[in-house]
Symmetry: C2
Subunit: 594 residues, 2 copies
Amino acid sequence: MQHEAVFHTSEAPYGFALSVKEWKVRLRTGKDGIARVNVIYGDRYNSPGSEAVLPMERVAGTRYFDYYEAVLPAPAKRVRYQFLLEGTSGQTLWYGETGPMEERDDRAFFQCPYISESMVHRLPGWLSDAVAYQVFPDRFWNGDKSNDPEGTLDWDSGRRPEPDSCWGGDLEGILNRLPYLEELGVNLLYLTPVFRSPSNHKYDTEDYYSIDPAFGDEELMKRLVEEAHARGIRVMLDAVFNHTGDRFFAFRDVLNQGAASAYKDWYHADECPVVQEPAPNYETFGTGIPSMPKLNVDHPDVQRYLLDVTEYWMNRLNLDGWRLDVANEVPPAFWRRFRSAVRAQNPDALIIGEIMHQAGPWLRGDQFDGVMNYPLRDALLEFFARQSISPTVFLSRIEELRMAMPEAGFAGSWNLLGSHDTERFLTSCTKGGRGWTAGEYAEERMKLAVLFQLTYPGTPLIYYGDEAGMTGGTDPDCRKPMVWRAEQRNAGMEAHYKQLLSLRRRFRPLGALGAFQPWLADDARHLLGYVREWGEERILVLIHNYAGSGTYRVELPLHLQHRTVRDLLTGGSWLAGEVLELPFQPFGAYLLTV
Amino acid sequence: MQHEAVFHTSEAPYGFALSVKEWKVRLRTGKDGIARVNVIYGDRYNSPGSEAVLPMERVAGTRYFDYYEAVLPAPAKRVRYQFLLEGTSGQTLWYGETGPMEERDDRAFFQCPYISESMVHRLPGWLSDAVAYQVFPDRFWNGDKSNDPEGTLDWDSGRRPEPDSCWGGDLEGILNRLPYLEELGVNLLYLTPVFRSPSNHKYDTEDYYSIDPAFGDEELMKRLVEEAHARGIRVMLDAVFNHTGDRFFAFRDVLNQGAASAYKDWYHADECPVVQEPAPNYETFGTGIPSMPKLNVDHPDVQRYLLDVTEYWMNRLNLDGWRLDVANEVPPAFWRRFRSAVRAQNPDALIIGEIMHQAGPWLRGDQFDGVMNYPLRDALLEFFARQSISPTVFLSRIEELRMAMPEAGFAGSWNLLGSHDTERFLTSCTKGGRGWTAGEYAEERMKLAVLFQLTYPGTPLIYYGDEAGMTGGTDPDCRKPMVWRAEQRNAGMEAHYKQLLSLRRRFRPLGALGAFQPWLADDARHLLGYVREWGEERILVLIHNYAGSGTYRVELPLHLQHRTVRDLLTGGSWLAGEVLELPFQPFGAYLLTV
């Protein structure tokens, strides 16, 4: 046993409350020589008879580490614990808050001091079967030509998107297409910004209190939410609170009045006068983008303003949540207030942060419910699109990511293949490949990635048009107008999405909250398998990530042995022994159940 | 090199902001085979030319781990980084947010996304030379006999404290004794609770808005703070917000009205009627203490009430801070609001949490400035009082604790030998010992512990009477009335405190914020040495934790070699070579400088 590999802290992602009376602990260990891991726990005030031992379950393994978990009952909402590891050659190791120990040390108990209700991360009740769909409004559908800005392109012009192109998409267009979304099988609509702004993307807000006239107005937005709700589709908007546009009233005032402006401290401008040319002398989003001055969200008036905006729209529109732009550059102190305000208005609202790196600290239940899971996308790109990593490495990568998040924050996150900020996944597939002709099996690889996305825990986020086989390079090319005409759409891809979305709805284990257990990672045969579980119900996902075909024997988990095993994708069924022999097509997959 | 031993996360205590443009990183490694550790860092937006390499400094070592630190410049307030470890046999290891890596991986940068001002932990400006003194008001001095409750004992009755004894100590008594505190050399007075309550300890608050009449009144409290301030002594009160007393108006109402009470949700009472006998059917402080019902601090009205109380007293009294009772059982969300409210009234207020275990999560700058460092006390007890651990083990223990806290939270914490909740340290010394007659060298060992306490970073907290050689077992025995008559006081102990307090005031390196570096831990000769540093100024502390005497050669750090070395305790001086030969008395010590 490696003493130095063992790790736990009594906070998320290593310790977190499932309820005020359940404390879940996760312990990291090295890979070698561990026979058993136990957790010794009891009441913090050492009540007689309260101490007990619980064996921990190995729940994940990565290249360097294994992870064990257990749920500690905490009837008094308080629990203390230490770990006892038993090695394969009989040696033992204790582990407490001071680190590895040769023997039990009662001063070294990890402490869960008291679980207040506010420390329990509650996800919205509706999350279990949510599937999100991201719309970039200017590019989804032009439902009202009367509000088209000058220079609006014809939907079918075939022009490549430029940074300032406009296709005239609007809320009326989205409203018209709600039946499409319903039929596709998604039930959560995320719109990139809709508030008044001069750009097509509207991340440079001019007025947080009005809907951009090229998109519609407040009445229409309200109708959109209502009609979406009527179809069982929830609606989330984009909160762009890291920066404003340079036409925003407060920034105009700073530009005009300099040091005399009442809004000077709303921004980070150290010099006066504040100028935009030749380069901004104030902080901006990114590096030196004059049209996006960075807000000083530490300022109490700015916080009040942004919370008022949030409450205004929650109130008027009956919103189901917010996606938070550049969430990692806005102070956590604000997001905590934001969460309280949002949840006070709608206890079932979902809050998703845009964070592209590991986001553990934001996912402790007091800021976000989840993040846009870009690190998972990176792993999917390498495994499915570029074919550059093996099943073993891929599994290690995704398990690392899962173990870096507490349970709720992981389940609450959005799993995406791409967004308005990335190359489209299908385009990545056409480039990547294991030395085949570029583009060979691109569609199959995309489909396999989609199958993974729609059978993995958390909420799938579908970027508009991916389901129709749209392609596109990085921004702005990934923002082409949505293809609606049948001959432009990839019917096979759409059928694939629909089939998997329908299975996800029907089978609870496949949803956001179903458990995930690795089953097999076979590099020689390019097979990856995992189990999804909800209560007694289990579905096995088996992925063949390779261009070849062949018939392979796979060892089944105990509960499937000697039973009739059925594939949810094809309806095929087999009477299994301890192993099952299955034929694999290039980039084929099975969803097995009994 | 052990890949699995390497650890970092981009949050405290492993990563924290020193200012909006400086991000300090701490990396943990195993003990073996590391030649050099570097951090590669740059602008998060990959600005050309921004990437640089910084060698990291080894700052601490424990039994299993070494710790390295570096300060990353972040001119744009954003920085990304990964680590490169070089082994003694030429091998290298990269380490990023996905763990150990064979090669650099730009997707695995640790990210410090943006340092907002609110993320910088600012300690009060006056902390550098603070020394705190804890008074339990009923036991410090009876300055006003007219407010003595019935049954008040004579100060010199010699009675052992019982749970409900009363000695009549009061604010007038403390006021009278301010000259004593000033002369002793302390400058921060912490009073255990003073608000109206039926007990002698007053942790069962009846009325947060009035001073207990046995102690005085608001006018007197105000005068006490004013006169303390006039003598350069700051004043902190005890915030007992985890629970109230059972005479508190809201709890009375719940008892009387049950489910109909407007205050029912202020507590955790699941059944009605709410009863105290035979056992409370509501949550309490500790386990089943009927007189201390636990508040539901998640409730917005409770939060508002407690914040109002806080603001009321901050305002009226010009307070310098709060010590927070049972701080780890009150929701962090409340403490964050509390900190904002307190700092809004007094930006230089100090906030100290009572947490007896490792407190890293509370010390990220958004809750407390420090904690009462009980785990350090445990180590001091074992090393000095019980003599049960060697210098090497002691050093490993205290370095573990130091590395478990971010820099500011460590410097802001209170280092105590004991409190109203523990056996007095001198009493522990009379029990412990390395097989000598119990009590042998008890005073010498206490003095050595005091020398450590007063030369260690952070704020020393002196429990009233320790400086006079008071003894006492655990609560209530540790709460004897203060000894004032010369014949009851240990003059040698007092002189020892005064000398060290005076040195601490004179020499900045000895203060709260001076750096700490281990120098030597010599188990055979029972020597422990460390360096305190402030700018160019350095003081070496050398401790001989043993009953024997002898003359030992110690190797000097470079900056002391071949210079005249002076002992601040005795004034003695020596011309040093590379080593210095020093005579050691039983439990003797040196404070060396040039």
